[in-house]
């Protein structure tokens, strides 16, 4: 399949059309969606209309935008007007939002063609997409294994060549971990770089929308479209969209790079080996590599599993059967709320709601939630100290390659540990990217993670491009 950049170029100069590209995409979806369960909903009519609008613009001789006619998959926790949006939950089954997320408006304005909504762990809570109320997604590279999560459907859509691009959301690794397990590029941008307006909240202070793509260049092109100030999101950074594509070939010559002990310890040997190989690639490209230890990162998992559930317990209170979504009837409103929520939420969502409710409740707030916020401060400070010494950091994205479906499903703590390398970036509100680099067991892909300070996207993308070239991809 062609890259997004190639497609946009073909469509813009009339060598292909948005409608033709959409047909190719829909064909690929039809070929494997039943097997892989990537899309929860394919919006063929809406996509045809969007493609027709792009083709009209081009027929008039106008520029249709940097993503002209590029099919894109949307994680099903992003609201799109009139298109069923479930968050992978029975509680929202059948709900069609009466409004669109800011990122949807931006994608349409850039000429992209949203094809449909992809599967995810319910309310983005999970690391395998097994927590979807509508059944798991399978890894396109090895269907007996998970694609990672929570944005497993979006990662799989790109890995299975259904769409060249997808968007996901990353609260504790939900873009980077599935991207790594599916062998593609995934980026968690700086908190506030991409508007959250219309992203169904899991943990508001950690959630960020970001890109999936096969190539670093495609990821940069997509992120440039998504990023930029949005007055509808109070936490949106005030700056305009950064220039990313223009810096893709900046390289790493003269840069200082830190490899972080805490971001590789506990990873399988085959993964540590690929990280080491990546470091050599950076040295070969003219960078200096130093070893660093940031002990505070070890507490990330603990802080995350208090902060994220606490915010989630409040964000998910609104699913009460009153205004939209599921209602299970009962004699009074309290019983109705309870019956609705009990029937509508899956176990993982219930676990996190209860954990968060507990962490915020009188008597425990200071010991758990309050303590976690302080750990968060320490983590931010620790990263800041590291970035005084080096330009960016390197580590593993995941401790293992894609694991088997069902392998960790009954052990929440084991599942949580698969996000141990990605969580610190969310707590710090900073940027990180995963880029496929080599393979491990059963020829499954391995991702190398690059972490940088806030607003360092251009630097991380150009460094990722160095690894992409070193790994023999054009």
């Amino acid at each position: 399949m062609k890259t997004a950049v190639q497609i946009a170029s073909d469509v813009q100069r009339g060598a292909s059309s948005a409608d033709e590209q959409l047909s190719l995409s829909l064909e690929a979806v039809r070929a494997r969606n039943e097997e892989l369960h990537v899309f929860l909903y394919v919006d063929e009519d809406g996509a045809r209309e969007a493609a027709a609008r792009v083709d009209d613009v081009i027929a008039k001789g106008d520029n249709a935008g940097p993503l002209a006619g590029v099919p894109i998959a949307i994680k099903d926790n992003v609201c799109q007007r009139g298109v069923p949006t479930t968050c992978g939950s029975k509680i929202l089954q059948g709900w069609r939002p009466p409004y669109s997320a800011t990122v949807i408006d931006r994608l349409l304005a850039a000429g992209a063609v949203p094809v449909g909504k992809t599967n995810l762990d319910e309310f983005a809570m999970g690391s395998s997409t097994e927590n979807s109320a509508f059944g798991p997604t399978r890894n396109p590279l090895c269907p007996s294994r998970v694609p990672g999560g929570s944005s497993g459907g979006s990662a799989a859509a790109v890995a299975a060549d259904m769409t060249p691009l997808a968007i996901g959301s990353d609260t504790g690794g939900s873009i980077r971990q599935p991207a790594a397990l599916c062998g593609i590029v995934g980026m968690k941008p700086t908190y506030g770089l991409v508007s959250r307006y219309g992203l169904i909240a899991f943990s508001s202070s950690l959630d960020q929308i970001g890109p999936f793509a096969k190539t670093v260049t495609d990821a940069a092109t997509l992120l440039e479209v998504l990023a930029g100030h949005d007055p509808m999101d109070s936490t949106s950074l005030p700056e305009p969209s950064p220039s990313l594509v223009a810096h893709l070939n900046d390289g790493v010559a003269g840069k200082r790079i830190g490899v972080v002990t805490e971001l590789i310890e506990g990873a399988d040997d085959e993964i540590v080996n690929e990280v080491r190989r990546a470091l050599q690639a950076f040295r070969d490209a003219g960078a200096t590599v130093v070893e660093l230890s940031i002990p505070e990162l070890r507490l990330g998992l603990s802080a995350y599993y208090l902060i994220a559930p606490a915010e989630a317990s409040s964000n998910l209170a609104r699913y009460d059967g009153v205004r939209y979504g599921l209602r299970v009837d009962a004699a009074d409103v309290t019983a109705m709320n309870e019956a609705t929520r009990t029937a509508g939420f899956g176990d993982e969502v219930k676990r996190r709601i209860m954990l968060g409710t507990y962490a915020l409740s009188a008597g425990y707030y200071d010991a758990y939630y309050g303590q976690a916020l302080k750990v968060r401060t320490q983590m931010i400070d620790a990263f800041a100290r590291a970035y005084r010494e080096v330009d960016f950091l390197v580590g593993a994205t995941t401790p293992t390659v894609a694991f088997a479906i069902g392998e960790k499903a009954s052990n929440p703590m084991a599942m949580y540990l698969s996000d141990v390398f990605t969580i610190p970036t969310n707590l710090a509100g900073e940027a990180a990217i995963t880029v496929p680099f080599g393979t491990g067991e059963a020829d499954l892909p391995i991702g190398v993670q690059l972490l940088g300070p806030g607003r360092s996207e251009a630097q991380l993308l150009s460094a990722a491009r160095v690894l992409e070239l070193a790994d023999g991809r054009p």
Partner: protein, 475 residues
């Protein structure tokens, strides 16, 4: 009302005032009372998944204005979520300020010179509104309820007083003075009957100088009369309880205006764990000095200052006149009065007509021009209208509008204008030469004769003093 046996009432008030913004606190929906249900709603104020709040600048400025009027410190503040389930709350949490409110401390001086401390005045959002079906239409006994979210997300400021109030009358005076301040700042229209100002009263009793007793909170008092009656009732209930050997249980109580009593609404429960935490979708609020200065520069004079200014227009005011001044300020009529006085109307007359005639038709005053008021009072002052006639003209102007001179003429008061009164008097002099001669020679009693004749001709609408003036002029 004073309590028997040395008991003392202790009251603290929490006043919620809806802010008079064009749009809601966190979204662009219209903030308007009385719209068709669920027509002012959007993803944000309906709490739809994915929606995010963005703070209304004007709401912040009105909150600051209230704080400034209450001598509060404008402080860096944050927003929290107060979590509890309730169908009229679309997100099942309320965005409110918690440990760091925008306005900290302050005080309010009442007309009787007593001072009530202010603990805080913070921003928060209003909830939707439920209508109950079945039973008596009240929540209790209803079969089902219908929810309208038009009011959801309307900006509120909650003003919390210290427990400094010692009588229901003082509570009423506090609420009234606060209402005047809210109107003066432009924060509120002060319409309690529309729910734009709602009061919760924390009431306890104690023996003089003893520690505070257990308090009960009476919710949602929506008139000054209810406030005063509810406090009196509740204090007496607590006295009876304590004197009967019982104890007061901390609880929330409901005031029934028809029955004239409070009753238990809910006792403090286990479930009251609001799990407050910082609202992650909003950032800190820290108005800098220049923003504060801009708001302060836009403040109009507060009631106390206006009261003083108006009273100073009176020479040696009586206590009845000072009461009238208070009424004029409470009703916001001082602008009309000041303008009339500037145009030559006596302050005594202008204050009196405003405190009585205008006050009686206060809803109509907003369509009433200061020119009309001034012109009518000047006619009265010149004797062209009797007091009764001036009041009649004012009433007509208030209800139907029009030009004061024309209204006076149409009502048949026109012959009383000085020229027509003069003509009437001249005609009478010609008709009664003997009486006129005796009057000219100093028999003052004959003035009464001429007044009587004028009254007969004008069907009683002439002004006696004006008649005498006309006679004097011809003597």
């Amino acid at each position: 009302m004073t309590l028997a046996n040395g008991w003392e009432i202790v009251v603290g008030l929490e006043v919620h005032t809806e802010l008079k913004t064009a749009s809601k606190m966190f979204c662009g929906c219209a903030n308007s009372f009385g719209a068709e249900p669920n027509t002012n709603i959007c993803p944000v104020c309906l709490g739809l998944p994915g929606s995010l709040p963005v703070l209304n600048e004007r709401a912040v400025e009105l909150a600051m204005a209230i704080g400034m009027a209450l001598h509060s410190t404008i402080a860096p503040s944050t927003f929290h979520r107060k979590n509890y389930f309730y169908p009229d709350m679309p997100k099942d949490f309320q965005i409110s300020q918690y440990d760091l409110p925008i306005n900290v401390g302050g005080y309010l001086d009442l007309p009787d010179a007593s001072r009530v401390s202010i603990e805080r005045a913070h921003l928060e959002e209003d909830t939707g509104k439920s209508t109950h079906l079945g039973g008596t239409g009240r929540l209790q006994g209803a079969e089902r309820s219908l929810v309208d979210y038009n009011r959801s997300g309307v900006p509120l400021v909650e003003i919390v007083s210290g427990p400094d109030i010692r009588s229901s009358a003082q509570a009423r005076a506090y609420a009234q003075e606060l209402r005047g301040i809210l109107i003066a700042t432009g924060a509120s229209d002060g319409r309690m009957e529309e729910g734009s100002m709602r009061i919760d009263a924390n009431v306890s009793i104690r023996k003089a100088n003893a520690p505070f007793g257990t308090r009960c909170e009476i919710k949602n008092l929506n008139s000054l009369r209810s406030l005063q009656r509810a406090i009196d009732y509740e204090a007496l209930r607590q006295v009876e309880l304590l004197e009967g050997g019982g104890t007061v249980r901390q609880e929330t109580r409901h005031w029934d205006e028809l029955l004239g009593e409070t009753s238990t609404m809910r006792v403090k429960e286990d479930a009251d764990d609001y799990r407050y935490f910082r609202e992650p979708d909003l950032v800190d609020l820290a108005p800098d000095q220049s923003w504060q200065d801009r708001v302060r520069a836009g403040l109009s004079p507060m009631p106390a200052e206006r009261r003083q200014k108006l009273a100073a227009r009176l020479i040696d005011p009586t206590s009845a006149q000072l009461d009238a001044v208070e009424v004029v300020i409470d009703l916001g009529l001082d602008d009309l009065v000041e303008r009339a006085v500037d145009e030559g109307v006596s302050a005594t007359l202008a204050i009196s007509r405003a405190a009585n005639e205008l006050a009686a038709s206060i809803d109509e005053v907003k369509n009433f021009s200061s020119e009309s008021f001034t012109a009518t009072l000047l006619m009265e002052q010149r004797g062209e209208l009797s007091a009764t006639q001036a009041k009649t003209v004012l009433a007509e102007l208030l209800t139907h509008g029009g030009d004061p001179h024309e209204v006076a003429r149409e009502m048949g008061f026109e012959q009383l204008s000085s020229s027509s009164l003069g003509a009437t008097v001249a005609a009478l002099i010609e008709e009664h030469p003997d009486e006129w001669t005796r009057y000219r020679e100093g028999d003052e009693k004959l003035a009464q004769f001429f007044i009587g004749q004028v009254m007969k001709l004008t069907k009683g609408q002439a002004n006696g003093k004006s008649v005498v003036a006309e006679l004097q002029a011809r003597r």
